[in-house]
């Protein structure tokens, strides 16, 4: 069992790798993820490396564990190495409001003089965190409902289908906005709202796949050896039905990034002062007559990231099913 499984994953990877576009998209996804992960050391007012009387210090590395609000006093000493983008996302300077892109600020500054590039880098963190968590919830909830619907069929399947129909009846953004606004916007409400509104795709994929494989020999073998239903579903069937669900998870991530940015754009997203791509665009709307760079770069960031996830998902699906 294990052997065949790893073999098929290798097959999928081999087919996936053949598409140049897929590989470019995958590399881009990895880059964005790395930028998000290392945002505090990539864009920070605090230096990367300092030499003080008591030895070497890494001031910006401390921000990995939550940034502190307000001004922090730096230790005395020499700066050895500055961060690649030497501006924190919330470093305000009214003397350089709406500054055009230039040597000091590659992507310009916003309405209160914050560095756009630095906010983009930190915005990746917010966007990806929200999107990955939301997709994970959607995958968990969807796999669960899809698995029991596909395994038991009958009235369980009927009930799950009705539930999916109900969720799909609400215009997606209406439901998400409603949940987020009524329960006060925060990262957690957004993640939960996105998760419980987007699980339906994963459920449908998993349901179909489980129905296909539940009568295969290994499922019968598991049953014959006396395994309980839960064990058959979650240990034997689900792991073999996960590939199509992972495809849908890729699309969920893309959709979640888009929705999160739309929420932030409408003022119901991750609360300020957290830098978000959508929030940056809502500022851009106010200054659309004066500052094109405010609208351009965050839009490109959202677009390229979403497109990369979509392309990876699409080519992954093709690799799973080379026929169609």
């Amino acid at each position: 069992m294990k052997l065949r499984e790893s073999g098929s994953w290798r097959e999928i990877w081999k087919r996936f790798r053949r598409s140049a576009i897929a590989m470019i998209a995958l590399v881009y996804v990895v880059i964005v993820a790395l930028v998000a992960l290392f945002a505090p050391v990539i864009a920070n007012t605090k230096p990367l490396l300092m030499r003080t009387a008591s030895g070497f210090l890494f001031p910006s590395a401390h921000d990995f564990f939550g940034e502190k609000e307000g001004i922090e006093r730096l230790p005395q000493g020499d700066v050895v190495l500055r961060a690649p983008i030497p501006h924190s996302p919330n470093e305000i300077d009214f003397n350089r409001r709406l500054g055009e892109p230039g040597p000091n600020h590659a992507f310009g500054t916003d309405d209160v003089g914050r560095d756009v590039l630095s906010r983009l880098v930190h915005g990746a963190r917010v966007s990806l965190t929200v999107a990955l968590l939301a997709a994970a919830i959607a995958l968990l909830v969807g796999s669960f409902f899809g698995a029991i619907a596909g395994f038991y069929g009958g009235w369980v399947d009927w009930l799950v289908s009705r539930l999916i129909e109900i969720v799909l009846c609400f215009p997606f953004l209406f439901l998400v906005l409603g949940i987020v606004a009524l329960f006060r916007p925060s990262i957690y409400t957004i993640v939960i709202a996105l998760g419980i509104t987007t699980w339906t795709d994963a459920a449908r994929y998993v349901r179909g796949e489980i129905m296909r494989i539940r009568e295969l020999e290994f499922a019968h073998a598991a049953r014959a050896s006396g395994a309980r239903d839960a064990r058959i579903i979650f240990r034997h069937l689900l792991p073999n039905a996960l590939a199509p669900a992972l495809v849908s998870a890729n699309f969920s991530v893309a959709a979640a990034i888009l929705t999160e940015s739309a929420l932030s754009f409408l003022g119901l997203g991750v609360p300020l002062p957290a830098p978000t791509w959508g929030g940056m665009l809502s500022v851009a709307e106010l200054y659309i007559e004066y500052a094109w760079w405010l609208a351009l770069y965050p839009g490109i960031a959202i677009f390229t990231t979403v497109a990369a996830f979509n392309v990876v998902g699409d080519r992954f699906r093709e690799a799973l099913d080379p026929r169609g």
């Binding site: 109900i166 799909l168 009846c169 215009p171 439901l175 888009l258 754009f265 665009l281 677009f303």
Partner: protein
């Protein structure tokens, strides 16, 4: 057919109750005293307890939850969601007067997207594997990944700010009332162009992909291979055999589209200050106008439900296989 219809409608009724239960549960799990739903965001502070009690009694908030649901459901069925906390007019009236504006904008976007998207999809599927086709599918994907509000922002920047060809926002100009009838129509159309375009482009990619997928599926079926084997020419196979079958699933597009269009309306109407239900929904959420929020959630969900039943029934009419398969 009538059996299929009856079953579909019965399901729709069940789904409708599901919708009301979901909406009711959501609104009642919001933290805070539900009495604030009715007296607005100022809250209970400083309001005499006797008055609070009276409000609770009037809106049945002192009764068990199930009874409250019953009262609320009665309101839903009679299209009475209570007075808006903003101007104390019935929430339903406020919704109904905005609905036509949303409908006009969405209908235009739907028509434009379908007229352009479906032929593009058919064309690209008929050239499956061709270099242009590979390229076009990538372009669809890229279109799909553009945030609609960013596109709207770029449209505003280019067409309304850089070149003042179209108005930046609003539904009419300031001097609308002074205009002649023809000038009024022109003025309205001018205000419609940018929001309609912004709503259209995402749908366009969706329709093109949907159509292409439908046609591709047909092409892989046996009867196409048979037709080819018989020596029917490539174009004849495409036109006479494949296209006709591929057009069937397009009937379901309407049902699939409406929730997407409505979602898009929230953003686009807000950006362009378009006086429709999407804009109203966001405003009502921000001002915590619960009767309007509830009313709009139910109304939009029911519109979606209705559209999906309609397109399912049309599909069954057009394709007898659906009716039979559903019986299993």
């Amino acid at each position: 057919m009538s059996a299929y219809l009856a079953r579909r409608v019965a399901y729709a009724v069940l789904t409708f109750f599901g919708i009301t239960i979901v909406t009711f549960t959501l609104i009642h799990s919001v933290p805070g005293d539900p009495v604030t739903f009715y007296i607005g965001q100022s809250g209970t502070h400083g309001v005499p307890p006797a008055i609070l009690q009276a409000i609770r009694h009037e809106y049945h908030l002192d009764e068990p939850l199930l009874a409250q649901y019953g009262w609320w459901l009665r309101g839903v069925l009679t299209l009475d969601f209570g007075p808006s906390v903003i101007d104390h007019r019935p929430a339903m009236d406020r919704i109904l007067e905005k609905l036509p504006n949303t409908f006009v904008l969405n209908f235009i976007a739907f028509a434009l997207a379908a007229l352009a998207g479906i032929p593009i999809g058919l064309w690209s599927a008929s050239r499956s594997g061709h270099v242009f086709e590979r390229g076009s599918s990538v372009v669809f994907f890229l279109l799909y990944s553009l945030p609609s509000f960013w596109v709207a922002l770029l449209l505003m920047e280019f067409f309304a700010v850089r070149h003042t060809w179209f108005p930046l926002f609003g539904m009419t100009s300031d001097d609308y009332l002074l205009m002649s009838t023809t000038a009024r129509i022109a003025d309205r159309l001018q205000h419609m162009v940018l929001p309609a375009l912004a709503l259209t482009y995402a749908q366009l990619a969706f329709y093109a992909r949907f159509t292409k997928a439908a046609l591709t599926e047909v092409i892989h079926q046996d009867f196409i291979t048979t037709a080819r084997a018989k020596g029917v020419s490539g174009t004849a196979v495409m036109w006479r055999h494949a296209f006709r079958n591929a057009l069937l699933p397009l009937v379901t597009l309407l049902g699939l589209t409406i929730p997407y269009l409505l979602s898009g309306s929230v953003i686009i109407e807000t950006m362009f200050q378009w006086d429709g239900v999407g804009h109203l929904y966001l405003q009502s959420l921000l001002s915590r106008d619960y009767p309007t929020v509830l009313g709009l959630s139910v109304v939009t969900a029911v519109v979606t439900l209705f559209a999906s039943v309609l397109s399912d029934v049309l599909y069954a009419l057009a394709d007898p296989r659906v009716r039979v398969e559903g019986k299993r």
